[in-house]
Symmetry: C2
Subunit: 506 residues, 2 copies
């Protein structure tokens, strides 16, 4: 059987651009994983790893023009957005180099022998070691920041884990270019290129998560695809951690006072956030509580103006475009649902942004309107009009987990009176915002990009320094002679690492 | 249908002692979980939680006589061992009170707004919040330290999570006594008693892990039982973290030089460790690499003397006794397997300790001898005689994951020459010991009690301060006004917590 070709496709026309690869067979996946496993020891040196990550960032920045051209051609995300994404991706690689240099992620604990304890404590020294080969499933909507050179890859390499990336079919050319940059960066530091490889094809992705030498997986994508891989990871003879970011509605609550204070500004901000990148952000605000009555009407008027003024957008591929058109049509057909700006098909290859409204009370119990509580990927949001705070509470309690939840409050509510609403939003999200918009995820140490299922399949984050924790496991050495200890755990701390010794930070 | 009675049984005779409870129906499990969920807010105050844990330790210590009498009557573990276990359990509760007081587990990160970043960073503040109701599955072999008042319960309550314990059928009376002590301790601090409840029955345990309001589970037990619950946790509509400690072979490598230096001491130490508590420790050394030839023969002679001198032991229940008798008989019947001291049935209610030997080369490839690479609960170990280091490597690479791995080396090998062997043991275990024995697990910050599957189903530990991490998830607050922030994240740090602000520890 001939190998299935992998084509780069132009979503602006639906036409194939070029064949960039072939789908990996089970044997090829096996070979890639074995090759990665074989070179895992090469990543043991923290100094080399940090330098490798910095060189990867440099090479990515140097190749900017070429990378962005390819990425734009096969994703239609546009040069401006992709320029920002490339800068962010390079910054992520550098940020993880800093994390590696600092070494706090090793979480070193040393407890000296203590005969005064009952029973006595032996000398115990713990740090974290890499899990092994990590499988990364690239996202459709971030061809760089959540794909081959993205946060999962950067954090796994930073942890000392070789990576096999399952490329996303929406940007195979970009994936190949980025893989060759990363492999070149590895070679510059004397590392085997096989510390990172890319495979293509749906079946290859399934093989990958089942491979006995794959130790963990990171995923960004749909609930259906992510759950299938999560299930496969859990069903293995030896289950592995599966850190998947699957889907999120990202609810927004606009208080009556907030709508009264600045209906226009909130409507415009919401319209900008939900249509950004053709609504293809995992943090798109997809569900909004707005008050009934005049203030809410004003907000909707402003939202209508903003969304109406948004030009037709190109989605990442035609399958997504069709899912969007069908998804909004089904939702719009529900009783009591209106579409002040009708979302749907734009031109032959585009979509039009829009939004739906529904009385919040329609969502207080299980029913056909529950479709409105499911993420619809693309430029649409659902505005639930509420008559009372009780209706907000009732619907919030029925929401699945989210990456974010946003509260829009009036100036005077910042005095503490909105604390109750904040407390209601916290259980359903991993990041809670006040008077901001959830699109845009700062790569900061205090960031958390994750949330209750299905936002993520674990309690981890895929953005920020602590993303490295996903690819490590602790190991303790007991009563181990100094000369046999890893350098990180030696008494004289030759690598000058932050450690907790006998309970105290040093 | 009448409720199924739960009997406390004396393993020394097999006779029922008393009926202590009835098995919980699905409705009763539902009621217990809902009650726990309803009171979760009561655990929000760290000061109260710490005081509650200390009072729980006090009440347990005060009730020592009563608790140990019940535990000994239904487990036959003996007053000496149980006195130690009770002290350890009380110490665990107090240690987690200290963890709560200190607050480092909250992992607070604050990044102030930074407009110099591209894109700009908003104000972000992250800490960890409790997951919700935790299900704890008690262990057979630690009626206190890994059961109702044990580490899973203590760490979950410390995290702020209410707990529903599925009691182990081997010690229902002890479970009920301990539950009433913990509930009394809660009440003393004005906490609802439902922050901890106990349910009995196999089906109740299955219902518990499937309950929509259960957020995470901790388990200590067999591979079969633990894997079934792990699978149920993963198959839920909303999967939950399942931290299971399932089984471990705990390999020991004795170098030729070590055997030459102190054959007698190693044999005696091994014999003591593997027969301790009738071989019913999860850290029992169950597989030992010993050299062929004279030094190894001397070691076996010493082991034979120690094990022969061990009296018959009572196992935790008769089902375990039968599994042990059958398990050792099947293993002993394999070709080339010998039994210098035959393990098996002792008296009507007891077992005899023993050990088996096998040439290590028999285990280098898949075959019927793989049964020797599976844990056999009870007082038996398998000694694999090796002719070369290559044989050790070949067999180590085939071992499942372990809680511990032990290296016995000679004095001169501590100079660094044994580093290669240590590096081979690290991938298969969570704790690596040199010249010690794995039974005995210090409750220290640097402890790690966990390991690659099936030792644990996650990368977490069930012993030591970091066990609390299992029951928490991070949440970030973005651009949130001071008056709306949780106290832990306020600028003036009113609770004086350790935090990382703009990348620096304060």
């Amino acid at each position: 059987m001939a190998a299935a070709p992998v084509w780069s496709v132009d979503p602006r026309t639906g036409n194939p651009r070029e064949q960039v690869a072939v789908e990996a067979t089970a044997e090829e996946v096996d070979r890639a994983v074995r090759a990665a496993h074989a070179v895992r020891g090469a990543l043991a040196d923290r100094t080399v790893r940090a330098a490798f990550l910095r060189t990867a960032a440099d090479l990515l920045a140097e190749a900017q023009e070429h990378v962005i051209e390819a990425a734009d051609a096969e994703t239609a995300l546009g040069p401006a957005r992709l320029t920002g994404e490339l800068a962010r991706t390079a910054a992520q690689l550098r940020a993880f180099a800093e994390v590696v240099d600092e070494g706090a992620y090793l979480d070193i604990h040393i407890d000296h022998e203590d005969g005064s304890r009952t029973p006595p404590w032996p000398d115990l020294r713990r740090y974290k070691i890499p899990l092994g080969v990590v499988a990364v499933y690239a996202a459709s909507n971030f061809p760089l920041a959540f794909s081959v050179p993205g946060g999962d890859t950067a954090s796994a390499l930073a942890a000392g884990c070789p990576v096999v990336v399952k490329a996303h079919p929406d940007h195979p050319a970009t994936s190949e270019i980025c893989a060759s940059l990363l492999r070149r960066a590895a070679a510059r530091h004397g590392l085997p290129e096989d510390v990172l490889t890319v495979v293509h094809g749906f079946e290859a992705g399934v093989e990958l998560v089942k491979h006995p030498l794959v130790s963990a997986a990171g995923f960004t994508g749909s609930i259906r695809g992510g759950r299938a891989l999560f299930d496969a990871a859990a069903a293995r003879p030896t289950p592995i951690p599966f850190h998947g970011e699957l889907g999120s509605l990202n609810p927004v609550v606009v208080t009556e006072a907030a709508a009264t204070e600045r209906a226009e500004q909130i409507g415009a901000g919401l319209g900008g956030s939900m249509t950004m990148g053709a609504g293809q952000f995992c943090t798109k605000p997809g569900f909004v509580f707005a008050p009934s009555g005049e203030a809410g009407d004003q907000l909707l008027k402003s939202l209508t103006e903003t969304v109406s003024g948004t030009g037709a957008g190109v989605m990442l591929d035609h399958r997504m475009r069709e899912a969007f058109v069908q998804g909004v049509a089904e939702r719009a057909a529900l009783p009591d649902v209106e579409a002040p700006v009708t979302p749907g098909a734009g031109g032959e290859h585009t979509v039009s942004a829009g939004f739906l409204t529904v009385p919040a009370r329609r969502l207080a119990q299980e029913g056909p309107h529950d479709a409105l509580l499911e993420e619809c990927f693309g430029p649409v949001t659902v505005v639930a009009r509420y008559d009372s705070a009780d209706e907000i509470t009732a619907v919030l309690s029925r929401l699945p987990g989210n990456l974010t939840a946003t509260l829009q409050i009036a100036t005077e509510e910042a005095d503490g009176s909105a604390a109750g609403l904040l407390a209601e939003l916290t259980p359903v999200a991993g990041r809670v915002l006040v008077n901001g918009w959830p699109t845009g995820v700062a790569v900061a140490p205090a960031q958390h990009h994750g949330g209750p299922y299905p936002a993520t399949t674990s309690t981890s984050t895929s953005v920020g320094a602590t993303a490295i924790e996903r690819w490590l496991r602790p190991v303790s050495y007991q009563s181990t002679p100094e000369a046999l200890l890893p350098a990180e755990l030696r008494e004289d701390n030759p690598q000058n690492l932050p450690r907790r010794v006998d309970g105290r930070r040093v």
